[in-house]
Symmetry: C2
């Protein structure tokens, strides 16, 4: 067994430590020399690239186009929208100078005091301000609308407590920014995009999510309504995995963006913004992986199938390779990514453990006896089940197995969520259930005050007000006041 695997903390012992170790041992990412920033390593980045490809296509299918806006935002832009500055100013990286110079004592370089900027810039924590300042020149008439733009970019928020992928100072994301002629259209767009996120999470990541709106307290700084997808991790905690905001006319008013409507009257433009980030990597890792390492959904795995030869000498390897080559070709023709690992410097047992750690969905192994018998060993990563099968028709079998794994891990995650979703009808019951870890459906009176008191006492927050599901009214578990529907409480990442 590989050393890395032997050393992996068990989930039951310390879930949080298991996660941190797994990110490093599976070669996904590591801490960088810059506090709070990570290096995304090739294996982790390959998964992110697959996410990007699918999301980008899904966005474009709704008519969205990509563009690119500046990294730096003039400090004054941030203040234009009152809630927005309140939400972001406290964690900004501030650029104050445009030059370094040699230190007089020869010890290196220092900031050149003569190169102080007249107005400071912040590194974008999000781009609503610079983008709406740009849209002012792009939008004049209803004929210029809707404007559906996305950018793939890095953003920076100087977070104090960071965890790789889940919360880092710099992170990679996409941010969509759309402009519309009517409130109705903008709201529909915000909902359309949260639906795209939910589809992506479920079909590609195999992560079941609950769609809902955020309470006022958890809304994006500057939004009228925030839609969210919430996933449950294996420890029962919630992970907010993507958000889509209906911004009303807030940014249009802050940046004076108006258009002439069909009746030739000026109106402020309606806006949305929406984003998912490398945080999705955290959701992916924490939803499916186990004490042996990563479990990747086949639809996002950089290597879907690995083939390992088991041989005693070069002659045996040659015979195995002759059998493997056509299988590799068949799999590639089916669009399946496959690696034949015939490297001689690692033993099969080490390779097995390493590919398990890395979450490769299907492993095939062939020895001298398999060559004689026309068989092959097949192992599925999700259940770790191993079986010896006929080699005849192996490619089709692998293709079907990949789909089966994709569905199986989704169903497993869904079952886990269902088993850890509770209904509380009193505050005492709520407090007991929230300790078990999971989602608790409870009535809430709709006030921020109640939400904050519950949070102070139980560390649970309202993850969302579900869009689908039971809409029966009731009374708040905390205040006894009327409640329109049950909401989801949980502890969260």
């Amino acid at each position: 067994m590989a050393k890395e695997l032997k050393d992996l903390t068990k989930r039951a012992e310390n879930y949080s430590q298991w996660y941190n170790e797994l990110v490093v041992k599976a070669d996904l990412a590591e801490q960088s020399a810059v506090r709070g920033c990570m290096v995304i390593k090739p294996y982790g980045y390959a998964i992110w690239e697959k996410m990007q490809q699918h999301l980008d296509r899904m966005f474009k299918e709704t008519g969205v186009q990509n563009a690119y806006f500046p990294l730096l935002i003039p400090k004054s832009f941030l203040s234009r929208e009152a809630d927005h500055v309140e939400g972001f100013a406290k964690e900004c990286a501030v650029v104050t100078h445009y030059r370094l110079k040699n230190a007089p004592d020869g010890s290196g370089v220092v900031v050149d005091p003569e190169a102080k900027l007249e107005e400071e810039f912040v590194i974008r924590p999000t781009s609503e301000t610079i983008i709406w300042n740009t849209y002012k020149n792009w939008i004049h008439s209803y004929r210029d609308l809707p404007l559906l733009i996305n950018q793939w970019a890095n953003v920076f928020r100087w977070e104090m407590r960071t965890r790789m992928f889940l919360r880092t100072a710099e992170f990679l994301w996409q941010e969509g920014h759309t402009a519309h002629a009517t409130m109705q259209e903008a709201m529909e767009e915000a909902i359309r995009m949260v639906n795209v996120y939910a589809d992506f999470a479920e079909k590609y990541m195999a992560v079941p999510v609950i769609k809902g709106t955020k309470s006022a307290n958890e809304r994006f700084a500057g939004a009228i309504e925030t839609y969210t997808i919430e996933a449950m991790m294996q420890d029962g905690k919630a992970l907010q995995s993507g958000t889509s905001h209906f911004l009303g006319q807030n940014f249009a008013k802050a940046f004076d963006v108006t258009f002439v409507n069909k009746e030739n009257k000026p109106e402020y433009v309606w806006a949305t913004s929406w984003g998912v980030s490398t945080r999705l990597m955290g959701a992916l890792i924490m939803t499916h992986s186990d004490d042996n390492g990563l479990v990747l959904p086949p639809h996002l795995a950089p290597i879907q199938v690995v083939i390992v030869p088991i041989h005693k000498n070069a002659e045996q390897l040659k015979a195995i390779t002759e059998v493997v080559e056509p299988i590799v070709l068949q799999l590639r023709e089916m669009g399946i990514s496959v690696k034949y690992d015939d490297a001689d410097n690692r033993r099969p047992g080490f390779k097995f453990a390493d590919y398990e750690l890395k979450g490769v969905p299907v492993r095939l192994a062939l020895g001298a006896r398999d060559i004689e018998n026309g068989t092959i060993e097949i192992m599925r990563r999700d259940t770790l089940e191993k079986s010896e099968v006929e080699r005849e028709g192996i490619a089709a079998r692998v293709r079907d197995l990949l789909e089966d794994i994709q569905n199986n891990i989704y169903r497993k995650a869904l079952r886990h969520r269902e088993e850890h979703t509770y209904v509380a009808n009193s505050y005492d019951e709520f407090k007991e259930l929230i300790e078990k870890g999971g989602f608790v459906l409870a009535h809430w009176d709709g006030t921020t005050e109640t939400e904050e008191r519950v949070k102070d006492e139980t560390k649970a927050t309202i993850r969302c007000i579900p869009l689908d599901g039971d809409k029966t009214p009731g009374t708040c578990i905390f205040t006894g006041k009327p409640s329109a529907q049950r909401v989801i409480f949980a502890r969260n990442y």
Copy 2:
């Protein structure tokens, strides 16, 4: 004729102004509110995305993997390599604080003096330092080598004089950073990548380039050897379009990156880095475009074919649409991107001018008479030639025409370069020829002093010492000293 087109400055009048106007009028990019930074608009970004796709595939075919490293670089890292800091410190964006706060007078936000960083960061102008600091932990043995990593990223250099795409403060690029066990291998890698760049420029951008090495004066800060591809613009000026650096052991020594070789001895690692940027967009625009607007190579055009109906009423439009739909399908099945522009709010003449301005390679147009006659009008953007042809077999004809355009604009650019490449055998002759605009092949004694004197007197620099071509020695046109081979002098962007 569309107003935008009528207003476009002619190349012969003012080439530089023509370029600046074209970038804006063709909707490629615009100046942003941040000095020296541009907004890349959807149409421009779509071309950049196509470039990225091809380059990314070409890199991966050589075994390169993508990863991501932090945006911010600790100030002290920059000083570790003496030439490197000299080259980059003077144009760095410096992050000194991590928070803003409300201004006491309520006027907005100000930098919070209590949030001063202990050590400042610079926004990466290039990532050798942070990457080699990371490689220290990744490389221990010869078995860890070669390490072939690329990142797609934004970088920032506080340039004083900027021009969209050609020289902007923030720009998008890819930077490859490889690590090798031997000098030989690293040099081969640097050459392999400049060859990839040349292939990409010629096959996709249809831009002929000359491969060569840079003189010491023009080398990357920290490199032992810089390989470059140089293209000639229509005004005869050179545009450096991509560079690949052999870095020797400079960064390995600066960041103490050693490996144990096969003989179990520690050695410093050998390095390369290589990059192309959104500057390629400038090369693309300036090489092919004309007084009517952009001319895009079919291999990179976001829209390869546009179809415009010419109709007097809804009935005619319906008949045209019925004929167009199967053509659109056939083209799409051939992998050709096609747009059927049946929008009713712009007249055909306006559309024609607009798609010419945007450089769409092939335009098809159909009127009521064409429907009767079984014909279609076809226009190629490169020559503006228009002809009426049989509709039968139009898809195959368009496919062939796209390849013809791709080849034709390459040949045209190559012919232009050949016609504007001169040989100078004396300094007087050199001064006369350099005024004509173009490349001048001349002997040079190999010293920085001579290069700088020639530059001071003629504004021409050595663009490269060509890898291919005539290697006959001679005597320097300026000093009369021995010269190993002719080099290329030109004025440049």
